[in-house]
Point group: C2
Chain length 555, copies 2
Amino acid sequence: MTAMDSHDLSTTDVHQVTTGPIMGSHKVYSEVQTPEGLTLGVPRRRVELTNGSHFDLYDTSGPYTDDTADIDVHQGLTRTRLDWALDPVNGSVTQASYAKAGIITPEMRFVASREGVTPEFVRDEVAIGRAVIPVNRNHPESEPTIIGKNFLVKINANIGNSAVTSSVPEEVEKMVWATRWGADTVMDLSTGKRIHETRERIIRNSPVPIGTVPIYQALEKVDGDPTRLSWEIYRQTIIEQAEQGVDYMTVHAGVLLRYVPLAARRVTGIVSRGGSIMAAWCLAHHEESFLYTHFEELCEIFRGYDITFSLGDGLRPGSIADANDEAQFAELRTLGELTHIARSHDVQVMIEGPGHVPMDKIAENVRLEEESCGEAPFYTLGPLTTDIAPGYDHITSAIGAAQIARHGTAMLCYVTPKEHLGLPDRDDVKVGVITYKLAAHAADVAKGHPKAREWDDELSKARFEFRWRDQFHLSLDPETARSFHDQTLPAEPAKTAHFCSMCGPKFCSMKISQDVRRYAEENGLDTVEAIEKGMADKSAEFAEGGNRLYLPLVD
Amino acid sequence: MTAMDSHDLSTTDVHQVTTGPIMGSHKVYSEVQTPEGLTLGVPRRRVELTNGSHFDLYDTSGPYTDDTADIDVHQGLTRTRLDWALDPVNGSVTQASYAKAGIITPEMRFVASREGVTPEFVRDEVAIGRAVIPVNRNHPESEPTIIGKNFLVKINANIGNSAVTSSVPEEVEKMVWATRWGADTVMDLSTGKRIHETRERIIRNSPVPIGTVPIYQALEKVDGDPTRLSWEIYRQTIIEQAEQGVDYMTVHAGVLLRYVPLAARRVTGIVSRGGSIMAAWCLAHHEESFLYTHFEELCEIFRGYDITFSLGDGLRPGSIADANDEAQFAELRTLGELTHIARSHDVQVMIEGPGHVPMDKIAENVRLEEESCGEAPFYTLGPLTTDIAPGYDHITSAIGAAQIARHGTAMLCYVTPKEHLGLPDRDDVKVGVITYKLAAHAADVAKGHPKAREWDDELSKARFEFRWRDQFHLSLDPETARSFHDQTLPAEPAKTAHFCSMCGPKFCSMKISQDVRRYAEENGLDTVEAIEKGMADKSAEFAEGGNRLYLPLVD
């Protein structure tokens, strides 16, 4: 198994990707030494502040935002992790195998530094399957990331061409673009032409784990007729993608024949593509799903590369009406059964979740997933909390995503403004990623992640002190923050002004508030007691003055 | 007291506002007869569906979306409610007085029809103060709306000029624009020039209740120096605005002198403009706030017009770091004290809430508000659930808004993408309103409001049946939904196509899902039992055939 034997990238069209630091920040690396003698470079995005300090942010953007990096999309990124490979344990190379054997891998040290926890904690969480580190050995270009409820909430961005639109260079740029703004993983959901080549280009250039849904490519191989699918075609497709370096794969092995009629009576039936393909196959053949019956063979293939299962929710609800129904939860219980089989093969597992769920039914999804699937990392698509706002489903779903993450979901699959309406373009991808980053961060804050709130506080201090540039540079999207400020107050001095564009120089609560603070300090009015004593003294004065408490200041 | 004696609108600049129906819908009126012999026309927005049925939506847009209405912004809207006025009860004309006396007013019948509940239920909720109907007698142009936890969650849009930007015609258009997309109330927060004239124009043309923060105008009268404010200046300002017809007023009467030092030690101090003005006044004079000491006089003025208090949270947190602190909750307890005083005068009361609150601290805000303030309708600004995303604070706050509404907040004050950065323009107002409508609706669904989910289901059915036009027309923003679809599949036949732009004609889960449904029905596979029996039969066949369960379909 080698990573580069499948395609010669240099034969395809030249194309450019977005490079250079994000406004107001630059790349730094923390060095981590390993017992094997490796030096790991853990990336961060450093924001230099105008008050002389700096603030470091978690960084998913890879070498593309490193001014000193030499980027060549035909060569692909440096295959850094080739040197990290440890000897197999009982014939297995999965992070789960090492963790269970008590071994801390370089990948575990890397993510521990990224998250600000100990390597031992990482190992323990991976060992019990409550966290996964998706790292196919054939994707040595990636920077490891950990997905689990006791770590920072991660987000995934979907890209991929379809029969209708898009090209290979566009998809590579979407991957670079999505990770630039914070995507922790990227799924290539291509269903159109040049699926293999698109994926090869994406993987070779991706600093984050890449996920796929192999059934899409398998279906292309049988000209789109689901009834012509077979285990053998699927198996060949899995191996092809495994060789390329796909880090995690969505497998809809929980869509059992007997669950299909449960979905037939729904308002929106089956909305998962993979789920509907497998349902069609099961009904046409009147047989149990080959993904289910061949699951142990799948585990053995995955184990050889350290591919992580993302057990797909093929029967997820596609509308508020269908949320938390029997079809959905029947499949979830089957995914729990499969989780334990995969774990017995030392294969890492995530569980995919909905979809469309009203707020009052969100917590139950997490509770049942944890119960059925032994706390395997939950990976949800939103969920959307209402169906009435196509065009704004990044928001209807961010509302659900923040809540489900707070309850324990480990990774959120983004939704763009184009959901239900069309394929996302570059701007949609950015809006989707930023929206999901803020939802994930809101959950980190609510969960009390030790480092999460520091970021909010740093930005709020900058805001209160009218350090406008720092406020822009500390935000998730500095360019947009600055451009919005420019629309009202474009002049350069406004970036250092001690007022803001909402109220103008005369009338500013922050300014008045600072005056209040200074006044209180100068007059020793810094406690309730001091104030109350002052009031008592004044009261006595007023009593002497005839009890006229409220002398008019202006007549 | 008359509504029109203050200004002659015809002397000011001619300007246009947006009129005409929203795409795919038209205005209808339900007629409600009252015992007084009135016929009330309760507006709805009717969406005609391509399957021959129709769906009616709650409508806040006033006559502007009525094709048959004659709009003249110089004349203002028809003063429909002049005829509705009942005789005073014990000298009082407030909805609370009538409700307590057991009288159902035309306003109560109007909102009962709008909400789909009985007039008696409305009366009872108003009588105990758990809901308010803000209707200044001098704003007879408005269509009554009810704000309370047992009704549909409402949203408010802030508009208003400042010293830096905007003009009178722009602000009137912003009001029309905001109500077009669903704003239930509008607050005019102007602080710049021509405050009186701007407000007059807005009120005369507004179909929704108008709120203000009178201290802003009072401050203009003393050239922006808060220490020169006085009760007398404030009182004159209140009466000026009451005469114009302001329906509810934010009064920061809970910012007591002794609370000010509690805020001085915060990360972001006092961020409420009204709060900072009153804090500055208290400290400068070393006296208790005149809003607090004159509160009973305020109640008597409000009672004469039926102005609703919106008791302001002058000490609301301006950052995640300051959420739920002693300053905030000390003020909340004082607002509770004032609520009971106002109610003893039969004046309606709402309570304003934060601001910036992490998700884990949201529920406590509602609990304490209900406890302290006798379940007076809670009216919150977001809250923002993280500080790190300026430029996206409509989303950081919609996440908090949906949750706090689910817990019982009755009205949500919108936040636009420009929050913290600049003044919203027309597009920002629309994005803010739509974002808050979807958050409010997500809460209505989660709360189980009887009519809320019908809307989601209607749209989902249209989606599943590929009724594209119906999907667009049923959405909160039909124009955006359609334009997004056009970006990928612009051709007209695509609007009736049985596939969508995400996957193209060959590969569509909805289409496969419909095939599955049909197949299951045709073969009687519509229950788990039927499927399992079928499987058992097949199993026997396979056993006879040598137990080769999975014959390869393609070799």
